[in-house]
């Protein structure tokens, strides 16, 4: 029952751990903590424990934690990446500050993400949402790879300020929702279906929550914090940011908007879908001309999250499934790509695409193959993980729930399809520039050891989930149907 509590305590201990240990010891300790956490998370996913304790009786806040089908894949993803970033950091030491702080911050980010996905109390959800901010801010501002202090301050500051604005708006929405329905329990909120709320109140609350979490997702035009944050952050930070933190936004939308406020979300869904599709096109076009590889992948995140938004907005079971699957898929793919690009940036000294460099196919076949798989998945090639989320999202938006404007949604699908074409364009552009060709100088080392094993595991995950998407879809289907069955009623 106390699994998350034990994990959390262990993580905080590691974060505040003793000062002098060397890089290697810190890494080992952190690795042990991550593995322990992962084991506990797997245990929690299997046994499905529940924790329910009073914490702040005066405010009616309870420590409620539980796992269900929707959060289980995200928990596993978080725990697995928690191990991956630590393993990867073995071969890529941090610089800019003490290693213990670096690993401590990583562990705290993982803690916050896990607590967010575990939380069953809306206010605790908000608290957990905030926990990741400061450690992430430290990671970007101190361990970021720009030598320029001002650039790091700017990127990290932007990240924190945007997300704090988002989460405070979200808090207002949560408080209003909790006040109106008389419970802070997420399941009770989902079953209540916004009963007792007028249509107008539902729309206001849903709008507050959507704007708040839209910043985190990020939905165009609230995405402008993302590219600088990704570009500056150290590899581990980028990976956690893209693969875990962005997921908290979509997860929150499913939990706090789609389920408890069906009418309000229904009214806002068309506008939300339009923003999502604008994001797909915007992100794609930005990728076509972007010359900084890390920034390019950040923009491609904006495009991918656009598909998630489109799926959510369709209001059907398939759409929700698509959104959740695309969520996981993006987590795996973006983690893979950020690991790769972080490694490349270290070898090259910069991530500028305009500089001619040795072709990966020639000098580092392992990095090359991982890059090809990553970008192929990113452009949505069938048989890889990226395909299912995008395909199902468009499929569901083509025949949306009855209360959605069908014509508009179909137009949006057409636009989104062109977005996938753009994605193919930029993916192939990158591969042409850095993978193909026969330049062999300047040579650089191929991936080895920890880096290669992390990449290999992620490539395998891309392939396995691409061939057998049912692994995730079956986990979520029960809870998703429970949400949509009542939506269409």
């Amino acid at each position: 029952m106390a699994v998350p509590a034990v994990a959390g305590a262990g993580l905080i201990l590691s974060g505040r751990g003793s000062r002098p240990p060397t890089e290697g010891n810190a890494n080992l300790f952190s690795l042990a903590a991550s593995v322990l956490t992962a084991a506990l998370v797997v245990g929690a996913v299997i046994t499905r424990p529940e924790v329910d304790q009073p914490w702040l009786p005066s405010l009616g806040v309870r420590l409620q934690f539980a796992v269900d089908g929707i959060s289980a894949p995200l928990l596993l993803l978080t725990a697995a990446l928690g191990i991956a970033v630590v393993v990867h950091a073995r071969s890529h030491p941090s610089h800019g500050g003490s290693p213990t702080t670096f690993y401590g911050c990583l562990q705290l980010v993982v803690l916050g993400a896990l607590a967010t996905f575990f939380a069953r109390d809306a206010v605790i959800f908000y608290l957990a949402f905030e926990v990741v901010l400061v450690p992430m801010w430290v990671l970007i501002s101190r361990y970021g790879d720009s030598k320029d202090l001002a650039a790091r301050a700017d990127a990290s500051g932007r990240f924190v300020l945007y997300t704090v604005l988002g989460s405070t708006l979200m808090l207002i929405g949560i408080l209003a929702l909790v006040q109106a329905s008389g419970t802070a329990n997420l399941e009770a909120l989902a079953t209540a279906r916004g009963a007792g709320l007028t249509r107008q109140a539902q729309i206001i609350i849903a709008a507050l929550l959507l704007v708040g979490m839209g910043i985190k997702v990020p939905v165009w035009p609230l995405h402008t914090w993302l590219p600088p944050a990704h570009t500056i952050a150290p590899t581990a930070g980028s990976v956690m940011l893209a693969a875990v933190l962005l997921k908290m936004g979509t997860y929150g939308i499913v939990r706090l908007v789609v389920a408890p406020l069906p009418i309000g979300f229904g009214a806002l869904a068309p506008a939300f879908a339009v923003l999502g599709v604008v994001g797909i096109i915007w992100g794609g076009l930005a990728c076509l001309v972007e010359n900084d590889l890390k920034r390019l992948i950040a923009y491609s995140s904006v495009a991918h999250m656009g598909f998630v938004v489109l799926g959510l907005a369709s209001g059907t079971t398939v759409g929700l499934q698509a959104a959740l699957f695309a969520n996981i898929a993006h987590g795996v793919v973006s983690a893979l790509l950020f690991f790769l690009v972080g490694g490349l940036k270290e070898r090259w000294g910069s991530a500028d695409l305009a500089t001619a460099r040795a072709a990966l196919r020639e000098v580092s076949p392992r990095l090359g193959i991982a890059l090809v798989v990553g970008f192929a998945a990113s452009l949505g090639l069938p048989g890889l993980v990226g395909f299912w989320g995008e395909f199902l999202a468009m499929y569901s938006a083509w025949s949306p729930a009855p209360d959605r404007p069908q014509g508009l949604m179909r137009v949006l699908v057409v636009v989104a399809v062109t977005g996938t074409a753009v994605a193919a364009g930029y993916s192939l552009r990158v591969l042409r520039l850095i993978w193909s060709g026969d330049r062999t100088t300047p040579a650089h080392q191929d991936a080895r050891g920890g880096e290669w094993s992390v990449l290999a595991v992620l490539v395998t995950a891309v392939l396995v989930l691409g061939v057998a998407p049912g692994l995730v879809l079956n986990s979520t289907i029960k809870d998703v149907t429970a949400i949509t069955a009542q939506v269409s009623r």
Partner: protein, 498 residues
Amino acid sequence: MSQAIVSVNSALLLPVLAPAVGAAVVLVVDVAVQRLRRAHYLIALTSLVIGVLATFAGLGMGAGASRQTLCLPGGGQCLYAADSVTSTLQLAAMLAAIVTLLLSWPDDRKQSSGSTAVIVSLVLAATAGATAVAGARDLGSWLVALELATLPTVALVALRGARSAISGAVALLTTALVSFGLLALAAALWFTATGSGLLTPAAAQIVIEDPARRPILVLAVLLIVAGIGFKLSLVPFHAWTPEAYDGAPLPVAAFLAGVSKIAALAALLVVIRAIAPLGAPPLVAIAIVSAVSMTLGNIMALRQEGVVRLLAWSTVAQAGWVVLPLATVSSAAVLASGAYLLAYVVATLLAFSVVAALVQTRGAARARTLSEYRGLLGDHPVLASVLGLALLSLAGLPPGVLGLVAKVAALRPVVTSELWLLAVVAAVNAVLGVAVYLRWLFTVISSREDVEQAPGVVSGVAQGVRVHPATLVAVGFAAVALVVTSVSPELLVGLLGS
């Protein structure tokens, strides 16, 4: 009939009597035995600890429960009442006074300025005023206690004698007199409206029966908000704050930020709770003042280069948060406001304590300049971490969970009353606030290499001077309080009762 006219329960009055008697004893001892320094502080600490212990009986009582004394015969009208909110505020005021005294503990390595007894007795007198105003239930003692909490601070600021201190004290004194005028007028209007000298719901009840009296009462409450707005540093009565904070010695600034704010809020709560049962509509005036204070305070704080001035402007912003819930007149709002104030006081005192410790090791000029905080994490890891926790708590970000919980508590009544515009303004200000405190924290955690890049850094000034033990005790005390309440905010929020 030789019966006493008023019944007196001195055990109940002890939180007020202890510091007041302590102040008198300090002065008497000073007359009797000259050149004592530490003894005064010991007397003061003893009296404050007695007062702290006396408040314990009133903590955590249920809603509506209260202990009364100074009751008039017959009618059951009491001039002093202590329930859980009152007791908690008294407790906080005295703990904050203890931290202040620890910060100003005499340093053996320096020459005595000869005014130790005066400083100590002024601190005690102002503290007695703060605890008295929290329990006062009639206009007379309420006004006197509020002034007792204010006027000694003017002297405390002025005592340093420097030019900046005098100008700060003059700003403080001028605003204090204006606010006293407003409050006296408000008291007169209150008496006109209710026909009673008591600040109780029963007295305000008469207004419900006679709607013609309502406008007068509303005017009285507005004037009270204006008068107290000065002590809470609410815009537009904030102008004295940066002057006084910056001019005053650091412990006195901490006193202004801690005890004075508690006194002011306690005074405001007495009035708000008297009118709460009337079911008044949201006080638009408080909403506007709160929104403007937050915004102006945060924006000005963003531009400051001195940390004391930054803390002063952040006080203005935080005062806006403190009165934010009071825009909805309800008992939940009173609790939320109290909880926010306590969270703010704990975090601010901690920040002031760390700055005071740094003044001792690095010299006043360095400790008061924001850019000199670069690389602090490397030089003083413990002080820097503690400062970071205080700043994050003020910003309302984990691991400063206390500040976050306080923010949730403060926003809740606003959302419940569906004041959407105010809620959104508060959200924007939460962001501005984060920017303010992270700007400071960013310099604190910047690494050594960045220090080398920064021009004009004088290193090694006054290094190696140890921090006075009393200051360390103050830092430790405030830090433990903040950590414990962050882990379990219920300890603090629950004190106020439910």
